[in-house]
Amino acid sequence: MTQLYAWGAVATIVSTSTCGDVLLSRAMKQVGDVGELRRRSGWAMVLARILRNPNFVLAILAMSTAFYAMLFGLSWADVSLVVPASTSLTFVTNALAAKLFLDERVDHHRWLAAIFVAAGVFLLAF
């Protein structure tokens, strides 16, 4: 039963964290290159464009959910499983979500990079 809770927590953290990253990436692409925008229109314009973007608000909501899911997960389940499993799996799910929802060109180099980093992050816990 404890294992079931642990993997439930991992699934919740990974899905909400991936949603947060994808939404934030979409929001920032809609805002445009922050450096160029700041030079053209100033910091106030950058902030206004970010805060008015609905995807940014949804991203913050998803990231907050991921944060609280992590807190609850840690109180129910084994830290040594929940933290490395959720952190490493997020790299792979983000690559998949970026290909599906952000139309990013995820070639074999990027797939391999995501898998290598995910495996590496998992090993860091031991």
Binding site: D21, V22, L24, S25, M28, K29, Q30, V31, G32, D33, V34, G35, L37, R40, S41, I50, F91, N94, A95, A98, K99, L102, D103, E104, R105, V106, D107, H109, R110, L112, A113, A114, I115, F116, V117, A119, G120, V121, F122, L123, L124, F126
Partner: protein, 146 residues
């Protein structure tokens, strides 16, 4: 890619590691926050080390957002995972912790991943995005003209 953009990516990694380390060591100094004294969790932000850690984490988030404004998510995430390598080096050489062979193998795998992604393009060309940037440029140049 310009030096400024490399600095932003480095900022994502360095600020995340510094922020996490400061908050973590600050929380260790404070000790456990009892569930029946939950309001105490708000007061911990006034601890100098935790406050500084939160500032670094805000700087991390600002750099992460800036990076996502000109780079793909599948480029930013693996390249900024250099933070995990930094964290291991800090653990070994500054905190003098024992770093296992498995952990060093993890560092090698992350390094290979970073090497693989950094050879490719930073951003996938998107027709709609180019149009949006052109509109932005026109708006800005139109505003500058009398």
């Amino acid at each position: 890619m310009s030096l400024r953009k490399y600095l932003v990516l480095a900022g994502v990694a360095v600020f995340a590691v510094t922020g996490d380390t400061l908050v973590s060591s600050g929380m260790k100094q404070i000790g456990r926050v009892a569930l029946d004294h939950l309001p105490n969790i708000i007061l911990v932000v006034f601890h100098p080390q935790i406050a500084l850690g939160i500032l670094f984490l805000l700087a991390f988030f600002a750099c992460y957002m800036a990076a996502l404004s000109w780079a793909d998510l599948t480029y930013v995430l693996p390249t900024t995972s250099v933070s995990f390598i930094l964290l291991t080096l800090v653990a070994k050489f500054i905190l003098h912790e024992n770093v296992s062979l498995t952990r060093w193998l993890g560092v090698v795998l992350i390094s290979v991943g970073i090497g693989l992604v950094s050879q490719g393009p930073v951003l996938t060309p998107q027709p709609r995005r180019t149009q949006a940037n052109d509109c932005l440029a026109e708006t800005a140049s139109g505003r500058m003209e009398p």
